[in-house]
Every structure is written in structure tokens, then in C-alpha cells.
């Protein structure tokens, strides 16, 4: 989308746009490969946490589903609006290309999708296959996103719905509602107990920890034997709980750790039971 095509330009704006295109072309020569993750320091919403309780509790961050952060346009725009106050909003929108990889608006759709998918996979690896000896479990998922959790919740709902023999739409509705509301309630629970956690980062984490259960649900849908289902669901349930444990336990006061962890386990156990019970 190029503003120059549709809106007649103010005479002073044309020079600004030329200036910016020069800057873009200068930057394009140095960076030709899109990085797998959008550069995280430019996102004002994620703090770097190196201590157990780094944050004031009530940071509510807007979810950003696109990898090109519009927030970063603010510091960039502040630097370049000295030249043209009139066209500052247009400068703001086009200078985010300076902070993030160039041509995100004109790149092929496959590249955008691939970047999102790569981010989902890397977040998944961090959350669900964690290295138990890493130095600071709270540091993972600095680039949280909500696409991954959304995919997993919908996939789990669909799988349960396919497995059900009657009332398929009700099953999907209940599963989706329980998972979505459950994630929100669990996060609120941690916040109310005086824990330090970012709201949407926690939603993202709880969503990613659903991945083993989603795999378990898929296996149960294909497999009919009840004993095998119970074994598979127990294993994936234990995996999900194990994945969620470090994030939740580092977020609250150690005297209240069990109070914060119990609801998480309860939700995953109830989902596991739901998977087994859906015939």
C-alpha cells in the first residue's frame, strides 16, 4: 500500500518520501535476509527479566500478532519528524521499515507467513522442550505471540469435536470456552496472589503448554482402545504440567507456589479427562 498512489501529495511531503526511500535503499543493501525473529529490543512491551521478580504487576500489554511492531515507529518517528511536522503520521508509518526488516509491506505473503510460523516453532521449542539446566526460565518467550496458542486451542477443540459422536458443536464450544476462559482465569489468579507476570505473556505460555495435549487428542481420535488412550493422555498431561511448572513457579512468592500451580494442573487434568471421555 503506497500513499503516493492514491492521495495527492503536499509539495513538502514528496521530499520527505524521497529522503525515506533513500534511507530504505541504503538499508536494503545491508540486510537482505529476514531474521527468524523480529528484533525484540525494539518492542517496548517486553521487559528483560534477569531477576526472579522483575516487574510491577499490572503491565497490560496489547497483543501484537504481526511481527512488524508499530510501537517501534514511535521512537523512529520522533527522530525524523523534525523535518516535516505536517506529514508526521505518514512518516511514522513508513519509518517502521527502518527498525524492522525492509519491505515488510511489499514482501511476498509466504515470507510473512513463514516468519510467523518460525516464531511459533521457536516459541514452542522454548516452552515445550525446555532445557532443564537453563539459567533463567523466566527469560523464555520474550517474543510471545498469540497465534500459537490460538492454533492449538482451535485444533484441540476441533479434534475433540471430531471425536465426539453426538453434540459436536456443543463439545467444540465448551472446549474452546474452557480453554480460553481458563487461561485468562489462571493468569488473573497469579496476579491476584501477588505474582509478577505479564498478562498476555502468560496467556501465550499457557497456550503453548497445550501443545502436548493437542497431540494426545489427535492420537486418541485415531486410536480406539481405552487403555491406550489413558496411557497416552497421562503421558502428554504430565508433559504439559512439566512444561508449565517453571514459568508459574518463578512468578509467585514461594509460599504461594502451590496455590498458583494447583489451578494450572486442575485445568490440564480436566482437559485430559475430557479427551479420554469423548468417545
Amino acid at each position: 500500500m503506497s500513499y503516493g498512489d492514491t492521495i495527492p501529495l503536499h509539495p513538502s511531503s514528496q521530499s520527505d518520501i524521497d529522503e525515506i526511500e533513500n534511507l530504505i535503499n541504503a538499508g536494503a543493501h545491508s540486510a537482505t535476509v529476514l531474521p527468524a525473529r523480529a528484533p525484540s529490543p525494539s518492542r517496548a512491551s517486553i521487559p528483560v527479566s534477569h531477576s526472579p521478580f522483575p516487574l510491577p504487576p499490572y503491565q497490560k500489554m496489547p497483543p501484537s500478532s504481526s511481527p512488524t511492531p508499530v510501537v517501534s515507529s514511535v521512537p523512529a518517528a520522533a527522530a525524523t519528524t523534525t523535518t516535516a511536522p505536517g506529514g508526521s503520521s505518514r512518516i511514522g508509518i513508513s519509518t517502521d521499515a527502518l527498525e524492522s526488516p525492509p519491505d515488510t509491506l511489499t514482501e511476498p505473503v509466504f515470507d510473512t507467513v513463514k516468519r510467523d510460523l518460525t516464531r511459533i516453532v521457536s516459541n514452542l521449542k522454548l516452552v515445550v522442550f525446555p532445557n532443564p539446566y537453563r539459567e533463567d526460565p523466566g527469560r523464555a518467550l520474550r517474543d510471545w505471540d498469540l497465534w500459537g496458542p490460538f492454533f492449538f486451542i482451535v485444533f484441540l477443540g476441533l479434534t475433540l469435536s471430531w471425536s465426539a459422536s453426538v453434540k459436536k458443536s456443543e463439545v467444540f464450544a465448551v472446549a474452546f470456552a474452557i480453554l480460553a476462559a481458563g487461561a485468562i482465569i489462571l493468569t488473573l489468579n497469579v496476579l491476584l496472589l501477588g505474582g509478577h507476570i505479564i498478562f498476555f505473556q502468560s496467556l501465550s505460555l499457557l497456550g503453548y503448554c497445550l501443545f502436548p495435549l493437542a497431540v494426545g487428542a489427535l492420537v486418541c481420535m485415531l486410536e480406539g482402545n481405552v487403555i491406550i488412550k489413558i496411557v497416552v493422555v497421562s503421558m502428554t498431561l504430565a508433559w504439559s504440567c512439566w512444561a508449565a511448572y517453571p514459568f508459574i513457579s518463578t512468578a509467585v512468592n514461594p509460599r504461594r507456589k502451590a496455590l498458583a500451580l494447583y489451578p494450572v494442573f486442575l485445568m490440564y487434568i480436566s482437559v485430559g479427562f475430557f479427551i479420554i471421555a469423548i468417545d
Binding site: S165, V174, L192, L193, R256, L259
Partner: protein
């Protein structure tokens, strides 16, 4: 606007694990009667909410399992009934929310006001006994189930009634009616629990 922030409700979650465990243990011994004194200055909403949620899950899970076993033993068709979960959620959350609210209004009318959060705390913890009762109801003997439910219901009702007794006594000559009403409501909840979840009618599904 203030009531929509997280900070407004933080004081009601200011409990440690040890506190919650101790309160749960107190709810199992209804004849001590000192629950309200112990929790007067620090009533919590964590216990009621999560005990309720656990009870919903346990009742739905065990109820489903019991119907499954009953159907399989008689070689009949069995489908998972999703309504079990939704109705049990409505029942328990509704009970714990509205009965203390009603009691609060009644007590205010009789000018012996009790804090609303204290009432919610009391009712929430009183439901804990139904969790082991539901687990024990797996046993397929009908008489056993009724006995279990009766015992749990009366323990729970005694817990609520005794803890409010000292408070209600100052309400004048009507106190007995109030206590009897509380007792009966709690027993009614226990009976509904038994009938909806643990009474099997094979072949009508």
C-alpha cells in the same frame, strides 16, 4: 471504575498455601465453630472459587465415569453428556454466589450484619467436604451413596450453621428459623448433587 482493576481484589487473595490448607482442614471439623473468628480479618476468595471449580470438575468426572461403567456393565450404548459439565458449573457457582448474598440481605434485615466476603468464604469452604464424598460415590451401591451424601451434607450444613450461630443468636427469636433454613438449603444441595450425578437410569439416555 475502581472495582475493575486487579488491585481492588488483591486483599481477598492474601493467603499462603499453609493458610488455605488450614482452613480446609477446619472445614472438615464442623463442631469446632471457630472458623469465622479465625478468618474474620482475612477472609479469602481463593478457597471458595477453586474449591467450587474443583468440585465441578470432580462431580462431572466421577458422574461421567459412573454412568460409563453402568452402561458398559449392561452392554448399552453410552455417549458423553456435555451438559453435565455446564449444568454442574451453573449449580455450584450459582449456589456459592447467590445463597450467601441472600443470607447477607436477610441478616442485614434482621440488623445482625455480617460481611459479605466472610459469608462467601464460609460457604465456599463448606463445599469442600463434597469432593471426597463425590470420590467415594464411585462405589456402585445405592444405599452407600445415599449414606455418604447424607453424611457430607449434614457435616457441611452443620459447619455453616454452627459458625453463624453466635452471630445469628443476637437476631432475636427468629434465629432458629434462619439456622434451619441454612441447614436445609445445604442438605438440598447435597441431594441435588446425588440425584443429578450419581443416580443411574440406564436406557433412558
Amino acid at each position: 471504575m475502581q472495582s475493575f482493576t486487579v488491585g481492588a481484589y488483591k486483599p481477598y487473595f492474601d493467603v499462603d498455601t499453609a493458610d488455605v490448607v488450614e482452613r480446609i482442614r477446619d472445614s472438615l471439623f464442623p463442631f469446632k465453630g471457630n472458623f469465622t473468628e479465625k478468618t474474620a480479618d482475612n477472609p479469602d476468595l481463593y478457597g471458595p472459587f477453586w474449591i467450587c471449580t474443583t468440585l465441578i470438575f470432580v462431580a462431572a468426572a466421577i458422574g461421567t465415569f459412573v454412568t460409563y461403567v453402568a452402561h458398559k456393565l449392561q452392554k448399552k450404548e453410552w455417549d458423553y453428556d456435555i451438559n453435565l459439565v455446564t449444568w454442574s458449573a451453573g449449580l455450584f457457582y450459582g449456589y456459592v454466589t447467590f445463597v450467601p448474598l441472600g443470607l447477607y440481605i436477610i441478616l442485614k434485615y434482621f440488623s445482625v450484619p455480617s460481611g459479605l466476603v466472610q459469608l462467601w468464604c464460609l460457604y465456599g469452604y463448606s463445599l469442600f467436604i463434597f469432593i471426597p464424598a463425590s470420590c467415594l460415590s464411585i462405589v456402585a451401591v445405592e444405599i452407600f451413596r445415599w449414606v455418604i451424601v447424607g453424611v457430607a451434607g449434614s457435616m457441611s450444613a452443620t459447619f455453616v450453621a454452627l459458625n453463624l450461630r453466635s452471630h445469628i443468636k443476637s437476631a432475636g427469636e427468629r434465629w432458629f428459623l434462619i439456622v434451619a433454613g441454612i441447614f436445609l438449603l445445604q442438605l438440598a444441595l447435597a441431594v441435588v448433587l446425588k440425584l443429578y450425578f450419581f443416580t443411574i437410569t440406564v436406557g433412558t439416555k
